[in-house]
């Protein structure tokens, strides 16, 4: 009786672990650079992204509770599996909350500006420029190609510079 119960609970641990790893991996796999993404795959990945933080946390809590209740009677191999399940579900819950894309793209923390006359730029450098009212701003493309995105305000107008 108790062995059958343990087997069922063990299966639940396995399912919860697979589910939480999947919740992290599906969007990570779909939204990766250099590979074609169909509209359907992208839409699925984004839907998973919406629910993954909450669901992976729940799965994590479930794995922890079950692991605790199974621990005392578990064999050494079973305990190793429980630890592995716990590590994987915790890792998935953490990764589902992180925006690892920002590690790759290094956004600009606080934009500074210099006067056109003081900028160390060659005349032939390409810049993206805006003119909002009398506020003229230039964003060197070499910098934007590295940081990719900047939330700025020009002439009182909030803009997002992207490259």
């Amino acid at each position: 009786m108790s062995e059958a119960r343990n087997r069922v609970l063990g299966a639940v641990v396995l399912l919860l672990t697979i589910a939480s790893v999947g919740l992290f991996l599906i969007p990570a796999f779909v939204i990766r650079p250099f590979r074609y993404q169909s509209a359907n795959a992208l839409s699925l990945a984004i839907r998973v992204k919406w629910v993954a933080p909450a669901l992976t946390a729940l799965a994590c809590a479930g794995v922890l509770l079950l692991a605790v209740s199974l621990w005392r009677t578990a064999s050494r191999a079973a305990r190793a599996s429980l630890v592995a399940a716990l590590v994987l579900s915790v890792a998935s819950a953490v990764l589902a909350r992180l925006n690892y894309f920002e590690w790759m793209f290094r956004p600009i923390p606080a934009a500074g500006f210099v006067a056109a006359g003081d900028a160390h730029l060659a005349d032939k450098e390409m810049v993206m420029t805006v003119l909002m009212g009398s506020d003229a701003r230039a964003y060197p493309i070499r910098q934007m190609a590295y940081h990719h995105i900047l939330n700025d305000t020009a002439g009182g107008v909030p803009i997002v510079v992207t490259y």
């Binding site: 650079p33 074609y36 894309f101 210099v114 056109a116 032939k124 450098e125 805006v130 003119l131 934007m144």
Partner: protein, 229 residues
Amino acid sequence: MWKRTAQGRELHFYLAGINNQNFLMRDRETGSWWQQVTGRAISGALSGATLELAPYDEVTFGLWKSGSPRGMVLAPVAGREKDYDNDWEKEVAKYPVPVSFPGQGLKDRDVILGVEIGGQARAFPLDRVLTQSPVEDKIAGIPIVLVTGKDGASVRAFRLQGNGSETELFRDSQSAEWRLIDSQGNAWNFEGCAIAGPATGQCLEKISFLKDFWFDWKNYHPQTTVYRR
């Protein structure tokens, strides 16, 4: 470049992913997902909303500075100067492409200038604009011109219609200073404003365009045509 307001709300964007080599952004306020190239929200509370284009130029620093000597330039982030790669264009050119559209005479990573007017999209190969400038064309019945500046690298686009009459522009090879002339005896500068002739003081309406790789433009503008002359 977009105005970051939607439904009366100011938004702050961050990068959240890449879709077919085009960025996905999210806004901190609602967490909605946005496609960078279209400015459209594809998921979340603001789904379906579109950002308004912030009119911008992509020109050389020298050209911009001569017109805006009191302008401000984004400063390099301290400690990152060495990371701003001089050869980033060559590096990017080596990346694989996620989608390919052969058969229209363009390679995947050929740079095009994408113009969209009245729901019609057209790609102007950059090298053709640089060599043939001024390039005149019609999109959705609207006559336009793409012009390369005196630096041979900066491009601007204008609507060729002032007071209902169409103008045809030519490079003025007689003049020492860079300018365009038309058949009505006007001379035009790179700002699109008439500096001599009966139209003096009038300016042509500027048109926004997107400098992009052919595969990316075609992927998000499937109906696009290509300028051929």
